[in-house]
Symmetry: C2
Subunit: 221 residues, 2 copies
């Protein structure tokens, strides 16, 4: 069974944020922090942080607060960052290249095994230490190396066939940059983390225009 069944996604999704801020505190040499101070830094209430962490066992001590390094370590363990889940990246266009170049896979729980593309002009190119492989070899690669996660940087139209192939090949986790809705097709049999950059930009459109309007009104009154 899953270690943490029933923990709500909104709680789980805050863990990376906790982890990131704790890592920064460690870099600054902070060894312990009160729940109130930590809450302020994170932008949540102390009680919400406590509730979140209680889902995974709870880590603070009354009157002491949190030990920064041990909480950082504990949250890293909950996210299983030490697993280094074997992963492949599909689609070595600009987005795939950007992700390959910038992302610290090992620190985020994954080991990038290989990069695939179907474009003959891209196959063979080297991105960091990975030479782009021909997608035609995907099935054989999955059989031999058993990747468990895939990063999808392909056009949406190409996604259904590739995902089908990967699921049959044993891939269970998808970092999905396409708008192809994997959950609708595969349900709970796979883990999906969608990155909808367009959604994020539209959200900004909402907020920035709300802000600009209220500024304008202030100026005219």
């Amino acid at each position: 069974m899953a270690k943490y069944p029933g923990v709500s996604p909104s709680v789980t999704r805050r863990l990376p944020r906790y982890y990131r801020f704790l890592g920064e505190l460690m870099k600054k040499g902070v060894e312990r922090i009160s729940s109130r101070e930590f809450a302020e830094i994170i932008g949540l209430t102390a009680s919400q942080i406590r509730q979140d962490l209680n889902c995974f066992g709870g880590f603070g001590q009354q009157g002491y607060g949190y030990n920064v390094a041990s909480l950082h370590n504990a949250i890293g363990n909950i996210m299983q960052l030490d697993q280094k889940t074997p992963a492949i990246l599909i689609g070595a266009g600009n987005l795939g290249i950007a992700i390959t170049r910038h992302m610290e896979f090992e620190k985020r729980g994954f080991q990038l095994l290989a990069i695939f593309d179907s474009n003959p002009e891209i196959i063979g190119r080297k991105i960091r230490e990975w030479a782009v492989q021909d997608s035609a070899g995907l099935d054989a690669f999955c059989k031999e190396h058993q990747p468990k996660a895939a990063i999808l940087c392909i056009p949406r139209t190409a996604a259904p066939a590739i995902v089908d192939q990967l699921v049959r090949g044993g891939v269970r986790g998808f970092w999905n940059f396409t708008h192809y809705d994997l959950t609708m097709v595969y349900g709970d049999s796979i883990a999906v983390e969608n990155v909808h950059l367009g959604d994020s930009l539209m959200t900004l459109s909402f907020y920035v225009n709300e802000l600009l309007e209220s500024e304008q009104e202030k100026q005219t009154t």
Copy 2:
């Protein structure tokens, strides 16, 4: 004043998703949809969708459901996608190039005016219709063209100085790909939409390992 003060971020953040799915229904020629069917497609309950939309006035009709095109249009209006907020992109590395090439800015509520970088090897390069400009000209550009939003594809270390310059130059909205915490520094005086790709990947690490463990256990029992 803002048009929709007090609408919770979690509601606002679902709007792009509604908008996207409605756009797809339109492409498929669907003219109206019951709230139950729509809820199923979106992966929410009909009551949650109704509650969300009620924050902005409500749009369904009892016994009729939703008119797909008019709800799509209404949500686009709420997000003010027709504003085409003038924006600039800072940092024309791989990530900046990927975003410039892939993102349909106009459909997401923005007009990309220009791209800036400080690297002499990059300045002058053309990405789609934009030639990368020298960051040294940023102040003059802001004065003349009054961009209201900026897309930050720069290293975190470069962010504080650039953001400070942009805020002084009148930029109010930031699409932030760095880990620099703008909200901590500028509070509510700016609108920020953070894209923390590393957080997203760590979340996947959690979910895929939960899934793999429960699969393994099924196999051994």
